[in-house]
Amino acid sequence: MFNYYLRLAMASIRRTPVLSVLMVLALGLGIGAFMTTFTVYYLMSGDPIPHKSHMLYAVQLDNWDPNDPPTESAKDLQPQITYRDGQYLMNSAAPAIRQAHIYATGAIVVPDTDEPPFDESIRATYHTFFEMFDVPFLYGQPWDRRDDEDHAAVAVIGRELNDRLFDGANSVGQSIRLDDKFVQIVGVLDDWQPTPRFYHVDAGGQFADTEQIYLPFNWAIDQKLLPRGNTNCWKPIDESLPLFEGFLQSECVWNQFWAELETPQQAAAYKDFLDNYVRDQKAIGRFERPLNTFISNVPEWLEVNEVVTDDNRVLVRLSFLFLLVCVLNTVGLLLAKFLGKSGEVALRRAMGASRGAIFSQNLVEVGVIGVLGGLAGAGLAWLGLQAVENLYRGYQHLVHLDPMMLTTAIGLATLSAILAGLYPVWRVSRLAPAGLLKTQ
């Protein structure tokens, strides 16, 4: 009977095109608005590295101005640390499985070909970065500890850059020119885009592309590659030192620091280690504020940095309310549509259709309207996400319409339509046929 009901549903939709289009549009608008805000929210609030997000900790140290208001939580602290603290921790015997000292920089890539030079973002870090964050490799491997210690001129590049410079061929062993220096490629990454980009979430970079070039931290410092992204200072730089050296030794924060800690006991021990380090620094006149060190795992870190803002949550709630309004509108339209065919319902009842058969027939019609509404909603959600992409920088990874989203949109629309249709369908199936046959 399902196929028969499906055929009747299509005929019924054709019979009342205006009402049907209105219902599809009502559902489509509701679904479109909700799916747009929910997709952005879902991707923003997703776990970018689910299998080990509770083992990776971002480090915060409170080296800030003693005259500032007191620190009450990790949210009150700078999300980055100084170069000198990062260097100390990186070279210490800290009780962590791995640590990674990181900063964002950039350089001009000068291709071998006729292509003009172009600017490229760079992530300067240690070899531990790749294993710590499970970065996938297409060719080669990360540089090793010795390369870090030797300040080696090596690089790992991203797949996109490898495609651009080497047509996707294995470029391990080749060199690329950055500004006026050459670095040798040791590895090429496969596609890698954690969303949010948890390892560096400030300055609106939480949804930015991952970098296409990774360099040993020490080599980048040797080349005086300046940081890109937020650099915050509360104390003047020592002018007695050369400018770059003065910057490195300053209280300016511009480095990210991560530690991999397997158990809560390890995390506690690591925090003790940080506290002791800060106490030692206090003894030599730094860290003038009360002792405030924080370590936050990835979910906590995204919360601390308010990657998902309250605005996003409010938008999702508002769009859900809008969807409810659309569903309520659809209830009214369905009621009008179904009561409009009460004569046919009465006739079918006279011909032997039970209430259940009438209920099923009309529920299939509601389902068809739901699927059409879902398709319209998915289309509108796609447009909505395009608008988000065009309006806001750094949202490129949030604006894709994948099969999962299409399925969800259609599923949600069908469910909404069925919920909206339950009352009208029930109502029409309860119509007394006797009085309606005479008047049809």
Binding site: A11, L347, R348, R349, M351, G352, S354, A434, K438
Partner: protein, 240 residues
């Protein structure tokens, strides 16, 4: 075939209680062609609705084909309606956007017959009413008389033993009405029991028995000899 004993139907609203049928007794034997007459508001349509299981009586016993059908569930009533009763309406009640074949197919869909069985029954019935070559037409492409013939084909498609017709010629001119009546007589001659509500005394006189309903009560009417129609059968008693 059809036995109604003490059937009453009361419609209640907050203000009014309307007695549509009052302790109506009526027996219809298999193969009869009954014409039911009566003024507007006398209870004819209520009688037809109860006879066709579209409504349940407020009280009394209704037996159809030997089975008490007064207090069945909706599903049971629907099944009996589908298997044993055919309806013909004054305004044809064809579904406008379904072809003639699909219209005739409607009751068969609820019967659970196979596609082949349904297709054969639909073809046979449309042939019977002389519209076999127009299976794919829409109702709007036919005249009123032709539409009523399609409605008759639909009523007969499931081979019911009992046909209920509510003013089947009410919307037709006399020529078309004649054709439809001839068709009903021929169907009755083949063994189908027919109960027809009509206002037209000429048509009523072509039935084998006339029942008059007044104020919710039924009584037999003797057909005048001068009308030259079939004599009132001995069997079948209707009384107050």
């Amino acid at each position: 075939m059809l036995k109604m004993n003490n059937i009453s139907k009361i419609y209640r609203t907050e203000l009014v209680e309307t007695h549509a049928l009052r302790e109506l007794d009526l027996h219809v034997e298999e193969g009869e062609f009954i014409a039911v007459t009566g003024p507007s508001g006398s209870g004819k349509t209520t009688f037809l609705n109860i006879a066709g299981l579209l409504e349940a009586p407020s009280s009394g016993i209704y037996e159809l084909d030997g089975e008490d059908v007064s207090q069945l569930t909706d599903r049971q009533r629907s099944r009996i309606r589908n298997e044993k009763v055919g309806f013909i309406f004054q305004s044809f009640n064809l579904i406008p956007d379904l072809s003639l074949a699909d219209n005739v197919d409607v009751p068969l869909r609820y019967r659970g017959w196979s596609r082949v069985e349904r297709r054969k029954a639909v073809g046979d019935m449309l042939d019977l009413v002389g519209l076999g070559s127009r299976q794919n037409y829409l109702p709007s492409q036919l005249s009123g008389g032709q539409q009523q013939r399609v409605a008759i084909a639909r009523a007969l498609a499931g081979k019911p033993r009992f046909l209920l017709a509510d003013e089947p010629t009410g919307n037709l001119d006399s020529e078309m009405a004649g054709i439809v009546m001839n068709l009903l007589e021929s169907i009755n001659a083949d063994g189908t029991t027919i109960v027809m509500v009509t206002h037209d005394p000429d048509l009523a006189h072509r039935a084998s028995r006339n029942i008059h309903i007044l104020d919710g009560r039924a009584s037999d009417v003797v057909i005048p000899v001068s009308t030259n129609v079939t004599a009132l059968p001995e069997r079948g008693v209707a009384c107050v």
